[in-house]
């Protein structure tokens, strides 16, 4: 009977040790690690200022720079943060800047958004968004745009700006101002 009691105490001791170990195991175990993808998913990512120049037949055609660059091979697109582009046209140099640029290869156009500015030799344009088609050299957009020159400004929506011809079209809600009228 005395042996039986001792055996019971032994079993209780073993069970306590095992239970304690199990408790320590579960208490000390870190939380479940979630398998989150913290990368942008881009195949190529440049962090920090960069600039790219494109030459055609020895002439600088497009120069671009930005703060970050991401290339998505699967989507066939790239995006640039704080982009700045310079185009060489037959009418001179034109620069375009904004907060973000996205290029879609299937649409063959760059969409620039956020405080967009276009600057040419004798004009400036401001909008919230524009699309640039490098093949045709056309800038277009549906948002409001304001174009300014010395002593004049014109604004409206649904616009097209043909860079080679330096022709600008608005097809909705046009408001223009011409200053300094005098003889």
């Amino acid at each position: 009977m005395a042996i039986g009691k001792r055996r019971i105490y032994e079993w209780i001791l073993v069970a306590g040790i095992v239970g304690g170990m199990a408790l320590l195991y579960f208490l000390g175990r870190p939380g479940e690690i979630k398998n989150e993808d913290i990368s942008s998913g881009a195949e190529l990512e440049l962090r920090g200022k960069f600039s790219v120049a494109r030459y055609e037949q020895g002439e600088l055609k497009l120069w671009s720079q930005g703060k970050e660059f991401r290339y998505f091979r699967g989507k066939g697109s790239y995006e640039i943060l704080e982009p700045a582009f310079e185009f060489e046209t037959g009418q001179g140099k034109i620069s375009v800047g904004g907060e973000k640029a996205v290029y879609q290869s299937n649409e063959k156009r760059i969409q620039i958004s956020g405080a967009v500015e276009v600057r040419g030799k004798d004009f400036m344009a401001f909008s919230e968004q524009l699309n640039y088609e490098p093949d045709s050299g056309m800038i277009s957009g549906e948002k409001r745009i304001k174009v300014q020159g010395a002593g004049w400004e014109i604004e409206g929506t649904n616009y097209k700006l043909m860079l080679e011809e330096k022709k600008f079209e608005l097809s909705k809600g046009v408001k223009g101002q011409f200053e300094k009228q005098g003889i």
Partner: protein, 161 residues
């Protein structure tokens, strides 16, 4: 001799009266469009096309041009501006109407040339002012001298109601 003197005096009085009347009528000019230095021209429309190299702008669809108290309404407006933004030349067409206060003029085409400081209204132009309707082949509003010249004029006076 007395008869001749009387005729001369009468002639002078009559010519003075005619001149005074004519002078009064010339004040029908659209002074708001006198293109004074430093004034602003506002143009609203539905569509616009601008050729930057040529400094030429085409406005189309419900065009309204405001300057001072004067307003031009038309459906098409073409203008050229100078390097500092001054309007050098403009041509309004299709349903042209100039309004300033109670005076208005209508026609098919209106042209302005800065060097001449004149508005020329063509295409069955009519000017309506204080019960008078003046029409002709061409109306020239000389903005510098506040003078109106009408080619082949016809004047109608409307009776008071």
């Amino acid at each position: 001799m007395k008869v001749i003197k009387l005729i001369l005096v009468l002639g002078w009085v009559l010519s003075s009266l005619i001149f005074a009347q004519a002078k009064e009528k010339t004040e029908v000019g659209f002074s708001g469009f006198s293109w004074k230095s430093g004034e602003l021209v506002e143009i609203n429309s539905e569509k616009m096309s601008l050729v930057l190299n040529e400094r030429r702008v085409n406005f189309a669809g419900s065009v309204v041009v405001k300057k001072g108290k004067s307003v031009i309404y038309c459906d098409e407006l073409v203008l050229n501006y100078s390097q500092d933004g001054g309007i050098e030349w403009l041509r309004a067409s299709r349903g042209v109407k100039l309004v300033e206060g109670e005076v208005f003029a209508v026609g098919k085409e209106l042209e302005y040339v800065k060097g001449q400081n004149q508005f020329v209204l063509r295409g069955e132009p009519k000017l309506v002012s204080k019960g008078q309707i003046m029409s002709g082949e061409e109306m020239i509003f000389d903005l510098s001298h506040n003078r109106l010249e009408v080619v082949l004029p016809r004047i109608q006076f409307q009776g008071e109601k």
